[in-house]
Amino acid sequence: MPQSLFEKVWHAHTVKKLANGQTQLLIGTHLIHEVTSPQAFGMLRDLGLQVLMPHRTFATVDHIIPTNELVEPYQDPLAQAMMDEVRKNCAQFGITFFDRASGKQGIVHIVGPEQGITQPGTTIASGDSHPSPHGAFGAIAFGIGTSQVRDVLATQTMALGELKVRRIEVNGKLRPGVYAKDVILHLIRQLGVNGGTGYAYEYAGSTFDGFTMEERMTVCNMSIEGGARVGYVNPDETTFAYLKGRPYSPTGAAWDAAVTGWKSFASDAGCRYDDVVKINAADVAPSVTWGINPGQGITINENVPSPDTATSADDKAGIIEALAYMKLPAGKPIKGTKINVAFLGSCTNGRLSDFQEVAKYVKGRKVAPGVKAIAVPGSQIVALQCEKLGIDKVLAEAGFEWRAAGCSMCLAMNPDKLIGDQLCASSSNRNFKGRQGSTTGRTLLMSPVMVAAAAVTGAVADAREVFAVN
């Protein structure tokens, strides 16, 4: 019987059925970081347990790491304590740690693909919300809590219920100035922030076939914002070309065998899906969020919704709450809204192509007076790639602060924070109240090029107009 990639990977990694009907699922690759792992190692010690497969766990530091302070001890003693803890735990349990000194440190979901650790047909778990970009490779990647980090450390498995699969087909070519980020913001707006509950999302169609791995990662990344547990793209030649020659990719005869194996995991033609959604790429436009969840988005030329046009009582309450927090006038254009901060980076849009695309347009321009603009590469390797191409200089000349790798202002666990009710044009993935480090700070999610357009004009703008894209 034809099967989807999800079903094949699930069955290949099923250890057994548990008494409550869930599955004990083998997790091939475990990615850990400093914020959600210390407590899990503490639980292991309390229970007297060991790490079952230390060679299948990889660690780095991303959440708390300062991006403008390279020397330890860090000024924040709590950040230093977490840093020390992950270092100690990795040493004690024999886990590979991509520390800053390794030159491979970065956001854990950027490091995995970069190292070739993320491979098709595998299962991945990480104590974080955003392992979904690994799905771009045809891996099934789960965001998990700390008790499950403990479970995976101790048993290389976790207890899970099987998911339904929704195929999301996007066909056609994106219009100029429209990016992968706009595709996922469009999808979340259409399907809702909890539309994906209980589902794995399979992204397919000619648009995805034509996407680079980095574009696929951007879309998969925000599956979770759409409520889905998992998002993936079937592996193809683009996937294999990306993986070839990476440090953890197989070589020689093992490479050929691996590619054959990877291909076999792709969804079979005619397999059953629990739901299918089709989108026309031409219908996607540059998007920006106006509210306090990622589903509250509009295209750049639309007006901010008004409670009067709400479709339901819930919708109305949601609009009223969001507008009160965002301090945006109802029914007015989002375009022209003054911004205070521009943030480029995160596991959604912190890769080479994101900075490359921005550099192409901001070259020779200046960040508007009064706007604080920061560019934070997703990993040390992304930083190095950018520096080799002179992208860091282009951005710095335009007025962006070029920082060291980390999660930074996506969730502001390090010193990069909004102040007061600053409004931030952000290439990150969440616009929740207080997300960027100030309890009254405001976030507008958009593509990196839209962030650049907002940075240079000082207000939310249509990047196509600002940069004469056509």
Binding site: L47, G127, V193, A258, D314, M413, F432
Partner: protein
């Protein structure tokens, strides 16, 4: 490891209304700079419980003395959306809550909560409103979540609740923390791993 069989939870309740209450709201990220979960309880809903400029308590329901000591949290749809941070259910539990009733819950939050032995019950909006009204009228109202029968009882009324089969089974049979069962499966894990080339290659 013998775990408690959680067949019902009872206590006073407090209503924290609203849909899409996300994990950043439940526990702001800056409080996650910790190497243990101890002490997270005091930061539950911190940024909506404290006035950002004065630092004084707001009129958030958790600050209302009438609801002090409540052990059941009531809320709206898509509760716990956002992050995978277990800090969120940990903060709720460490604050003193034993269960949450909402219209529905975000996926990862749901799993994280059950693993802590904290039942999450889904109920219809109008039924949650009835419970909230009863509690508002008399904060001492005893609310009982019957995990086995999947119902909620309060002030002589009974409304249906839903707790997903696997979670209900895990709670009532005292296997909500899967670690014991997963450890029992380790020999089978090794066998399954042998069939997966990327694992055998990496271990040699």
């Amino acid at each position: 490891m013998a775990l408690a069989k959680i067949t019902s939870v009872s206590g006073r309740a407090v209503n924290v209304p609203g849909n899409d209450i996300d994990t950043d709201r439940i526990i702001p990220a800056r409080f996650m700079k910790c190497v243990t979960f101890d002490g997270l309880g005091e930061f539950l809903f911190y940024d909506v419980r404290k006035d950002t400029t004065t630092g004084n308590d707001t009129n958030h329901p958790l600050n209302d003395p009438r609801f002090k000591g409540a052990t059941i949290l009531l809320s709206g749809a898509n509760f716990g959306c956002g992050s995978s941070r277990e800090h969120a259910p940990q903060a709720i539990q460490k604050y003193g809550f034993k269960a949450v009733i909402a219209e529905n819950f975000a996926e990862i939050f749901f799993g994280n909560s059950i693993t802590l032995g904290m039942p999450l019950a889904c109920a219809k909006r109008e039924d949650i409103a009835k419970i909230a009204a009863a509690v508002e009228k008399n904060p001492a109202t005893e609310v009982v979540i019957d995990v086995v029968k999947q119902e909620i009882r309060f002030s002589g009324q009974t409304v249906p609740a839903q707790i997903r089969d696997s979670a209900r089974d895990a709670l009532v049979n005292g296997r909500w923390d899967a670690i014991g069962e997963l450890l029992d499966g380790v020999p089978a894990v090794t066998e399954t791993a042998k069939k997966l080339p990327y694992l055998t290659a990496a271990s040699t």
